[in-house]
């Protein structure tokens, strides 16, 4: 019994299981033998009752049922069988007599899958059974696919529809499609009924689109906003393909509807995040540059001008630092609100091309955007003269005039605005932005809170210098400035008795030497914010060192004269030290002899007030200027710093040691401390020491270093007494070790 199953039925089980039901034992036996021979597994039942009992046990792949039997006949058995769970779709082949038409009809009526005339045609019977099995399998597969599709459509919130031209039955929607559109699952839906879900203002445009598709029999692919009858707003994607009749005329459409609301919302959200500033909701740098580029294209084509305004808040960093970042954010939001009210701001999301030959749609590009930090940009896509842009700028400054309430506190903010006009001030967005920046910076340099239009001769400065200035201006905001510290050493005790803070600028990974930017800062007034920052930073460092190794001396900060002329200097220093909880004497101020003498009258009141709160003053580069000794006696100063030029020549020219000893004598007479700067050799140190100067700074001890390095230097060089300069001076004094170890303990 090895007959292989007929080819073409490869998908069937290897030995399909057949339940054979016949009351005629001979036939039962014969059929069983014949079918086994042909590759079937046979279970036999000699009555309807037996068959039902067998089916309750296990389900075969197919049932062969004799129609005429005593007791339960084939028809009744079939009917009963269909009611058994799991047998609803079981294929049943009813065996009937030849020409027994009545039985054939009754067989189908009773739920038989097919009939077969009882005869000894075994191969035909086997073929029929295989066919039945295959079609049952196909049908099951179809049912499974159908329910899978329904489930997939449900999950994808998708359904299918059909629409026939010139037919009254309307739109045929699948159950899933009805659900997508919010209709009942048995509802009849007309095209009109569907269109009523579309908001009126969108409906007209949609109808135009649909009519155009219909006329040309093209594919429909549109996203349609719907307001469902329960009030939910959804976006539904409609995709449909035309169908044609035998004459090639469009006969209708078949397609799908899909609820794409979530996707659309996510897309919108992503697009918004990519193009708008999350804090202020204004267009961000990317969106603004995109708009500016489009505006330039239009301006080029239509030969008009457009303007870029760069708006930078004055002293925003101060507000941020004193009131905190959250208040700073609130301020930016309010400023954004006021600025956007000054232009015909359009929030419209724009990405596509501007289709405006001769149109005015480029007007929709107009906006205020936030470039980052406290920098805003206004884009005016069409201006006829500078005056237009300046008028907007003035409106903006005006709009900022009213106080802004932050945490119950009134806050005043001003801005500096730079204007660049296309095509005069630049052909590209990058050029225009840079030149607007230059113009804005010139406002800052001249006292802020104003507007300037870019001009190549702006302030008569060279471009490079302008850029350097502009960059230095941003250096504070970008935290590019750092303080390095050079220790002051008392050589008798071999200990550090203070440090001088020296400003450095880390610009693009390189350290700009102070000589390259301090004079510039002084020229432009930037030295004021720079100095303010330095004071704050020095106070902070004093606190850090205090906690790190018990630092209890002063950090000296160099200040230009006109800082002393500022009425708020004392208050500023007071704020700096109290903010970090260090005493006022933690800050010492250095002023050059030159500067001091030039502005003596203006500076004296400040010096007194500083002295009163405990801030000591040192005169830097002493000996090079022409100090009026008379004033020197009355000034509230504590320290003279011998200019490095005298120290350099010590032991080389006799004059230098004469000058140094004269200074030391003068200082002693006035009760001032003397500090020698620029000490590079042991010899210089010894000479100075012999002359009576004990506090020094210079490369011999340490160059100016970052704070951590200074701490390390103390730990690794001073503390273990490893430097060559330690000892030689101390030996001369004899027995300073007690003081030294004291200092070590202090600075551990």
């Amino acid at each position: 019994m090895t007959t292989a199953p007929t080819s073409g039925f490869d998908d069937l089980p290897e030995r399909p299981q057949v339940l054979l039901v016949d009351d005629d034992e001979v036939n039962l036996l014969l059929t069983a033998i014949a079918l086994r021979e042909r590759g079937f597994e046979i279970a036999e039942a000699s009555s309807g009752e037996q068959a039902l009992a067998a089916l309750a046990e296990r389900s075969p792949d197919v049932v062969v049922l004799d129609a005429i039997m005593p007791g339960l006949d084939g028809f009744e058995t079939c009917r009963a069988l269909r009611k058994l769970p799991g047998s609803e779709n079981l294929p049943v082949l009813m065996l009937t007599g030849l020409d027994d038409d009545a039985s054939i009809a009754r067989a189908y009526e009773a739920g038989a899958t097919d009939f077969f005339v009882k005869a000894a045609q075994w191969s035909l019977l086997a073929g029929r059974l295989r066919y039945l099995l295959r079609s049952a399998r196909t049908r099951m597969e179809l049912e499974r696919r159908k329910s899978e599709l329904a489930r997939a459509q449900d999950l994808a919130r998708m359904g299918s529809f059909e629409w026939r031209r010139n037919e009254k039955r309307g739109v045929m929607l699948s159950v899933e499609a009805l659900r997508v559109c919010g209709f009942g699952s048995h509802e009849d839906v007309s095209l009109r009924k569907m269109l009523r879900l579309v908001p009126a203002d969108e409906r007209r445009a949609l109808l135009r689109t649909l009519h155009a598709c219909l006329r040309q029999s093209t594919v429909v692919a549109v996203d349609v906003p719907l307001v469902l009858r329960d009030g939910r707003q959804r976006v539904v994607r409609v995709e449909a393909e035309p169908e044609f009749n035998e004459h090639g005329h469009g006969a209708g459409y078949t397609g799908i509807v899909q609820d794409v609301t979530d996707r659309r919302q996510a897309e919108d959200k992503i697009r918004h995040l990519a193009n708008f500033d999350s804090l202020t909701g204004l267009p961000n740098r990317r969106q603004l540059i995109w708009r500016a580029e489009r505006a330039l294209e239009v301006a080029r084509r239509m030969q008009h001008q457009c303007a870029l305004l760069l708006i930078d808040l004055d002293r925003f960093k101060n507000i941020n630092d004193t009131l905190g970042h959250s208040a700073g954010d609130d301020l930016l939001v309010e400023v954004a609100r006021r600025l956007r009210a000054c232009v015909r701001h359009s929030d419209q999301m724009m990405e596509g091309a501007i289709d405006s030959v001769g149109g005015r749609s480029h007007r929709a590009l107009e906006a205020v955007g936030r470039l980052g930090g406290d920098e805003f940009v206004a884009l005016l896509p069409e201006v006829t003269e500078d005056h237009d842009a300046e008028a907007v700028a003035r409106r903006m400054l005006e709009a900022l005039r009213d106080p802004i309430f932050l945490g119950g506190q009134e806050c005043f903010v001003t801005a500096s605005v730079g204007v660049a006009i296309y095509p005069r001030d630049g052909q590209t967005v990058v050029d225009l932005l840079r030149n607007a920046d230059v113009a804005m910076y010139s406002v800052k340099a001249q006292g802020k809170n104003a507007t300037a239009v870019y001009s190549p001769h702006l302030a008569g400065r060279g471009r490079e210098k302008l850029e350097l200035e502009s960059a230095l201006f941003r250096a504070i905001e970008r935290n590019e400035l750092v303080l390095h510290y050079q220790p002051k050493i008392d050589v008798r005790a071999s200990r550090m008795v203070g440090a001088e803070a020296l400003m450095r600028w880390e610009r693009g990974g390189k350290l700009v030497p102070p000589g390259d930017f301090i004079p510039l800062a002084e020229d432009t007034g930037l030295i004021v914010p720079l100095s303010e920052w330095a004071l704050r930073e020095a106070a902070r460092q004093a606190r850090v060192w205090q906690q790190q190794f018990g630092f209890n001396d002063s950090i000296a900060v160099n200040l230009p004269t006109h800082m002393f002329e500022r009425s708020d200097l004392v208050e500023h220093i007071h704020q700096c030290v109290t903010a970090v909880n260090v005493p006022h004497r933690a800050i010492r101020l250095e002023i050059t002899e030159d500067n001091l003498m030039k502005e003596l009258q203006n500076v004296i009141p400040s010096l007194h007030r500083l002295n009163e709160i405990g801030v000591e003053i040192a005169i830097d580069d002493f000996g090079t200027g022409y100090s009026s000794l008379a004033y020197l006696t009355t000034l509230p100063i504590s320290e003279l710093k011998v200019d490095r030029s005298f120290v350099r020549d010590l032991g080389i020219t006799p004059q230098s040691s004469a000058v140094v000893s004269a200074i030391i004598a003068l200082a002693r007479a006035l009760g001032l401390r003397v500090v020698a700067e620029g000490v590079e050799t042991l010899r210089q140190m010894e000479v100075l020491h012999r002359l009576g100067c004990t506090v020094m700074q210079g490369f011999l001890f340490s160059r100016a270093v970052v704070p951590d390095e200074l701490a390390r230097w103390l730990e690794q060089t001073v503390l273990p007494r490893k430097a060559p300069w330690i000892g030689s001076a101390a030996e001369n004094e004899g027995g300073p070790s007690a003081e030294l170890s004291g200092s070590v303990r202090r600075y551990r």
């Binding site: 005629d24 034992e25 001979v26 036939n27 014969l30 033998i33 014949a34 005593p70 000894a120």
Partner: protein, 137 residues
């Protein structure tokens, strides 16, 4: 449900009256088809089918005899239906045709007559004898 009447095959009337040899009672062609089911006889198909037929037929002859005195059409019709196809299967062609004709008449509402039953029993016994001859031969 009534069926159009089917004319009897011409060779069914009059039925054969003489006992016949097994060969003439059992159609050689039908027996050959049985043998084809089991060409080398390994499974003893012919013997199994014939002895199944023999046992069933002996039982059914007894059931027919019980109806001789007052024949019931529906009982005899059902018997004839079964015997019709099983007899055809083993090649008892004459008996099968008689059963078919009888079943047909019963279905058409004819009354079962004692002599008809006696005739069926006679043909059945002839078939039984022929099968026994083959089984024991």
């Amino acid at each position: 449900m009534q069926h159009p009447s089917i004319p009897l095959p011409p060779n069914m009337s009059p039925p054969p009256t003489l006992p016949a040899s097994p060969e003439s009672v059992l159609d050689e062609g039908a027996l050959a088809r049985l043998r084809e089911l089991d060409p080398d006889g390994r499974h003893g198909v012919v013997t199994r089918v014939l002895s199944t037929y023999e046992k069933a037929l002996a039982r059914q002859i007894e059931q027919m005899r019980a109806e001789l005195d007052s024949p019931r059409g529906e009982v005899l019709g059902a018997l004839a239906h079964t015997l019709k196809s099983s007899s055809a299967s083993v090649g008892a062609v004459a008996f099968s045709r008689a059963c078919e004709a009888f079943e047909q008449r019963m279905r058409q509402g004819a009354t079962a007559q004692t002599h008809d039953v006696a005739e069926l029993i006679r043909l059945a016994e002839a078939a039984l004898a022929a099968v026994r001859t083959i089984l024991r031969g």
